[in-house]
Structures are given as C-alpha cells and as structure tokens.
Amino acid sequence: MTTPVITVEHGVVGYDGRPVLRDISLTVTAGEVVAILGANGSGKSTLIRAVLGLVPISAGSVTLFDRPLRRFRQWARIGYVPQRLGAGGGVPATVREVVASGRLARRGVLRPPGRADRAAVDAALLAVGLADRAGDPVSTLSGGQQQRTLIARALAGQPELLVLDEPTAGVDAASQEAFAGALRDFVADGGTVLLVAHELGPLRPVISRAVVVHEGRIAHDGAVPDPAGHHAEPDHDHVHPHCYDEPAGLWSN
C-alpha cells in the first residue's frame, strides 16, 4: 500500500504576486487519511486547490495517480467536497439532483443516467444519512445537512480519493458524527482521503497522518499533534451554540 496517490514537489502558489505557498512537498499514498491543519490564512485550502488544479502553481509539480496534473484525465477517481454549496441564482434543486451531479465524472456529458447511476446515488445518500431528504430542495437543509449533501455528491462518483475542504467547519454535532461514519466506511473500503481541517473533533480517530501548514510552509508532517490550550479539554468539541432566544425587538412576534 505505498502507491503514491498525490505527490507535490516544491510547489509554489501565489495570488497577484503575493506568495501563499512557498516550497511545499507532500506525498499521500493509497489508503492514507491525511489531515492538513493550520491557522486561517496559512494556505491549507490553497494547497488542496492547487492539488486539484483549481489554482495554478507557479513552480514545482503536482502528480495525481502517477500522472502530471496537466495530463491527468481520470477525474472519476477523485471526489471533491468544497467548503460550502454555492447559493446559485435561486433556482431550486433537490438533494438528489445535486448528488446526481457526482456521477457525471464517471458517466460523461452525453450519456443519460442509467440504473448503476441511480443505485450509486441511493447508496451515497444512505451513507450520509440523507435518504429521507432526497426530494427536498437543498436550500431547506441545515448547514450540516448541506455539507453532507456535498459529501454524498463526491461519494456518488465512487472515487478512490476524497479531497475535502473544511468538511466540519460550522457543522452541527449530529452531522459531524454522520460524516465521520461515512469517512470510516470509505477508508475501510480502501479509499484515500486528503482533508483540510481547522479542528478535527470526531474525525480524530480516523486520521492517520497530519500535515501542519504554517505561513505557506509545512511545519509538521507525522502523527496527529495533541490539541493545546482550551482545545485540549475533554468536552471541548468546538461547536458553538446557536442563539435560541433572540432579544425581543420591533420585528419579533
């Protein structure tokens, strides 16, 4: 199990001449679950966007499944989960319609969906616990459920590698648990995971390796570091309570 899935060698990324990543080298091999940790603005999201070719690298190289990124075409092997669902122009879309987009990488543009596509969408909805919400518009879902929809979309493509950008940021505890479960199943079936996180929470036991990005460089690559400060307290799960009681005002009834 030492086949490299992702290789970044001396990667440099800059926005408008301002360097965000300076000389990053990283290898993820098959079966690993790698978490990229770091403070806000450390460049951790930029790193996975560079791996996927969403931002160009100005120096160095990215290799996916033994192919240079420029010549990589087997996108069905990768499932990408962005930070959040775009609001779109207000045209409604059901959970199932969004998840079904995940089949396009495998099916291609011209072929209409078949039985295998529907089965994969059903399985993905089940894996994230949203089977009963399949026909609901995504806009009526909570933030955590929308995040699970995006994970289901990635899973529907039956990828070998999942790339997730802050999958648990601002997500309620129930969704975090559902997500950790889906990730465990994916890894148990031999999948590889690269995820960006600010806080590991319930994902912690699933992670096999942590990479800490600090000021555009890799500051740590190895075991998951222990949380420090108040983050280390046993009951701290970094989920902020919602405000239930709004102060009475002009518009409250």
Binding site: G53, L54, Q74, G89, V91, T94, S101, L104, P137, Y244
Partner: protein, 288 residues
Amino acid sequence: MELFQYPYMQRALIGALVIGLAAPALGIYLVQRRLALIGDGVGHVALTGVGAGLLLNRSPVLVAVIAATIGAVAIEIVRARGRTSGDLALALLFYGGIAGGVLLVGLSDATSANLNAYLFGSLTTISPADLTTIAVLGAAILVTMIALRPALFAVSHDEEYARVSGLPVRTLNLLIAVATAVTVTIAMRAVGVLLISALMVVPVATAQQVTRGFRSTMAAAMALGLFAAGTGVWVAATADTAPGASVVLVAIASFLVVAVAGGVWRTLRRRTTPTAAPTPEPHEVVLS
C-alpha cells in the same frame, strides 16, 4: 378567432410558441448562474448585426446571429476571467452594441419602423422562411438544453466542482453563450431585443416559487413560456395590441398571480396546521 385563419397570424402564433418553449429552457441556466440580464446585453450586440445586415443588404437575422454570437462569446470570456473590470467591459459591449445598431440602421435605407420591428418585435411580419429558421433553431436549442441538462446543471450550479469532475467546463460555457445568442436572435422577431430577457427569465422566476427541484422548475417554466406566448398572441389578435409586449405582460401577470397565490397558500397552511414551536437543538456546550 377568425383572425387565426390568416396564414400570417398562424405563423405568428407558431413562431411565438416555439420561442415561448425554447427561451425558458435556456433561461433557467442563465438565472442559475446569476446572468439573468445577459440576454439583454447580447440583444444589444445583435442590434449592431441587424444594422450591418440592413446596410449590406444581407439577411439581418443571419448577420445578427453572427454579431450576437461574437458578443456572447466575448461576454463569456470576460466572465470567465472574473476580473473586477468585467462589468465595465460588459457596459462597453452593451452600449457599443446598441449605438452601433442605431447608427448602422440610420446609414441604411431602412425606416424607423424597420428599427422598431427589431427593438420591440414584429410577429405578424414573419415570412414562411423566417418561421422555418425559428422552428429549426428553436428545436436545436430545446434539444440541446434538455439532453445536456445534467452537465449544464452541474456547470451552472458549481463550476469548480464541475471542473474537478473533468467536465469540459469551457466548452459547456461557450455552448450556453452561443445558445443565448441564437435564442436572442430568433426571439428578436417575436418580442424584440428590448424584451427578450423577459421570456428567458420571467417564466423561470414564476416557476421557482412553487417548485422544489431543478427538473420540475425547467418543465414548469417551459409550460409557462408556452402559455404566455399563446395567450399573448391571442390577446394581441383580439385586442389589437402589440404582440411582443402582450406576450411579456402575460408572463409578468402570471408571475404576479403565482406570487400572490403562493403567499396566500403558505399563510393559510401555516394557520390551519399550527406547527409546534421549533424545538431547540440540545445544548452542545454548557456555559456556566
């Protein structure tokens, strides 16, 4: 009703119905990617094509298709670059397009009535050849928009995800741009360049108030477009009003009816089935 015995009225009706069906099928993607008014911009550019066609004594519709396609592709390139100067570039294109059109029409032998026909539509002057063009191009738009729905939905919904899925994002975006240009040009004969965006956008806006999914919104918008076109032409024939304006006003009236009815229905439902006060999620942290 006996007006519809005349072939020119039949052509007007068929032309309007084809456009009423095709325009929302494309418009839904434009609304989804927040480009609801792009049809207006492309229409402005198409007008330069009309002017050039009239001046050169070539088919104005054909030259307009070419001009509108160039304009739509230029707008798409500006959009894809995503730079802040984008909306200024669009403004230059829009106003350059309409000024060029007015200037060129003025230079040609055409009368102002001719210009009006393109600005506000002229359904009743559709020739059999025009109708063939409208039907063929309209059918092509319709088939493309329906057959490629999953891919076009994915690109319009989440472009970055579509790129990571390996979809030909640039090609699909250009396809939408070209389809917009073609739709604008054929609809120009029906409702005119100044009203074309209405047929692409208003039925979608009406449908999405009551639908839950993308597919159902598309179907409902097409049905509403068909209804607006048919009713609008009938109103124009019976009340002797301008057909293009009648079609658009029927579409807007449908929007208002659905908006009000939907609001009333939601209020009634809330009253008849009083939902319990939302139960708060259990506290996840205890604040002392």
